[in-house]
Amino acid sequence: MIKAGTVAWFAQHETRLAWRDWAWLLSGGRRRRGYTVLLGLLAFIVLMHGLAYLTLARAADLAAPPDKRLLVTIGGTLLLYWSLMLSQAMEAVTRAFYARGDLDLILSSSASAARLFAVRIATMALGIAAMSLALAAPAINVLAWLGGAHWLAAYGVVMAMAMAAVAISVMLTIGLFRAIGPKRTRFVAQIVAAVIGASFVIGVQLIAILSVGTLSRVGLFQSEVIVNHAPDRDSLWWLPVDAATGNGPALIVVLAVGAVMLAGAIRFAAPRFGELALAAGGVSHSPARSSRRAANLHPQSPGQALRRKEWLLLWRDPWLMSQSLMQLLYLLPPFFLLSRMFYGEGNGAALLVPVLIMAAGQLAGGLAWLAISGEDAPDLIASAPVTASRVWRAKAEAVAGGIAMVFGPLVIGLAIVGPMLGVITLFGVAVAGISATLIQFWFRAQVKRSLFRRRHVSSRIATFAEALSSIIWAGAGAVAVVSLWIAIVPGAMALTILTTAWMLSPKRQ
C-alpha cells in the first residue's frame, strides 16, 4: 500500500487517470469489448507499418553510414516532428492550468500541491512521448528491419525530444503568465501552440515553393541548396541525428539533455504551479466583457436570427475562431503558389485545386460541428416555434456563409488565372463543404462547444468519413484539372463514402 500524499501515490493516481483518458479516447467513450479495440489497434498498426514500408523501401542504403543528404532529411524530419510535439505540449500545459477538474480539490487539501504538479508535468512528458512514439514506431521499426537494429536508438531520441518539448512548454507558459497575465495567456498560448505546430510545416513548404517550385518537403530537404548550406558533418547540430542513427554516446548525451531540461522545469515550475493555477481559475470568475452596442440581432425571420447568432458567437470566441480557422494557415503555401502563378512562375494548379477543396471540407466540418453539435442552448432552439428542418437549414446556411467568405476570394483569384480552374474549385469546395456538413448533421451529438478540440472522439466514423470524403473530393478536383471524365470515378467514390456514412449514422425518430 502506497502512503497517501507521496510522489508515488500521486503518480499512481495520475497514471490511472491518464490510462482511463486513453481508454476513453480509444473507445470513443463507449463501452466496447476489449478484443474489438485490440483488433482495431492491430489493424491500424499493420496499416501504418505497411505505409512506412512503402515510403522507406526505396530509400538509399540504410545500413551504410548516413551521408549528408540523409542527415539533412533525418534532421529536417526530426525538427518537423519536434515542432508538432512542442505544439502538443503547449496544449497540454495550458489545459493543466485552466481545466479546473480536480484542482480545487487538490489545492484545498493538505497534500503537497508541488508534488502533484511535479508528477503531473512528468506525466505530460510521458503522454507526449507515448503519443509520439506510437506515431513514429512504424517508421523506426521499418528502418530497423531494413537498415539494422541501430535505428532503434531513434526511440530514445523521441523520448528526449518529448522531455525537452514539455520542459520548454512549461517554462514558456509560465513566462507568458508573468508577462501578460492569466487571462491573455489562455488565448495566446493556444495560438502559439497552433502556430508552432503549423509554422515549420508551412515555412518548409514556402521555402520549397520558392526554391524547388513544389509543395514537397522531402524534395526540399534533399535539394542541393539545402544540403550545401547545412552545418558541417562534425557540427554539434547533428547530435540528435547521430543519436537517432545509433551512435551510443550521442544518444546518451541527447537523453541526458532532455532529462536535465525536464528535471529543471519540474524543479522550477512545480512549486509555482498551484499559485498560477489559482490565478488561472480566477479568469472564469472575472467580470464579463461589455459590448457597448448590442449586435444587430433584430432579425426578419427565425432563420436569420439563427444564422446571425452562429456568426456572432464564433466571432466573439477568439479561441474557437482560432481553432476553426487554424487550418487556414495551411492555405498560406497554396496562396503563395497562386500569387506566383499570377506572375507566370510555376504551374501548381494541380496541387492548388485539391488543397483548397480539402481545406474547405475540413473547415466546413468544424463549423458544422459548432453550429449543430456545439449548440449551447439546444432546449431553447427545440422549444422555439420553428420546424427542425428550418433550424437545420439555417445552420447549414451559416456554415455555407463562412465557407464562402473564406474561400470566395481564393476561388475568384483562381478563376482569373484560369476560368476552368475556378469552376472546378468552386464545385469542389461546394461539394466538400456540403459533404462535411451532412456528415456532422447525421452524426450530431449534443456536446459543449468548448470541447471542440475533442470533437473527433464523439464519433470515429464521422471523423473518418469527413476526412476521407474531403480527401477524395480533393483528389477528384486534382483529376478534374486533367480530365473531367476521369474525375467521375473519385467523385463516385466520395458519394459512396457519403452514402455509407449515412447508412452507418445513428437512426433517429
Partner: protein
Amino acid sequence: MAQLSPQLLSEAALEIRDLAKCFDRPAVDGLALRVRAGEFYTLLGPNGAGKTTTLRMATGLLKPDRGSISVFGIDVLADPVAAKQIMAWLSDEPMIYDRLTPLEYLYFVAGLWGVDNDIAEARARELIAWLGLSAYAQQRCEGLSKGTRQKVALAGALVHEPRLIILDEPFTGLDAASARLVKKVLRERVSEGCSVIMTTHILEVAERMADRIGVMCDGRLVAEGTLEDLRRQAGAGHATLEDTFLALVDPDRAQGPIAA
C-alpha cells in the same frame, strides 16, 4: 392565491391523456393531467418520479411513446410549431449563450418566436428593467452569476408573452432576493391570465404559490388538488406539506419524526 374567473377555469391550458415514456424503465406511465387556464400548478415528486420527462414531452422536446398532449386546444404532437408559439420552457440550467449580452439574447429569442422588432426591443428593455438586470444589459453573459443567468433565461421565456410557462426547478441556485423576485414575476403573470406549471423540490414554494399541486411518483400522478385536498388524501395527522408529501410518496419514511 389569485381568484380565477370561471371562463378561464373552464379552459385547459394543458391537457395530458394516457401519456407514457419508457427509457430503461417506464419514466412516465399512463399519466393524465389537466391544468386550467390562468392557474399556477406545481408538480412535486421524488427524484426520478417523471416530472421533467412529462414537462419535456409537453413542450415538444421529447416524443412520447403513447398518449396525447394539448396546449390551449392545440395538439402538441400534431402541430408542435403552433403549440410552441404560445408556450415557454425554462429549465434549471439556464439556456443562454455566454458570448451574447442579455439584451442580445432577448432579441435573439424574440427573433426565434417571430416577435416584431420594435415590440421585441420595447419588451426586452422592459423585462431587463423589471428583473433588475439593467446593470448587466450590455455585459456578456459569461461572467454573470447563476442567479443572474437564471433571470436572463426567465426574461427570455417571457419576451414573447407566452400563455403557458413551463418551468423545471426554476429556483435552483437562486439567492433569497432573486427567488423572491422570480416568484413575484410569476405570480404577476398568473394574475394577468398566464398559466404556469412548475416543478420544484422546495415544498414551501409549492405551498405558498400553487393554486393546485400534483404529486407524481413512479411516472404516475398519485395525488392532486389544493394543499387541503392533499392533506385529506394523505390521511389525518399530516400538518405540513412535507409530512403530506412524504405520506403520499413514501409512507414508510413519513412515520419517523426528524430528531431535534
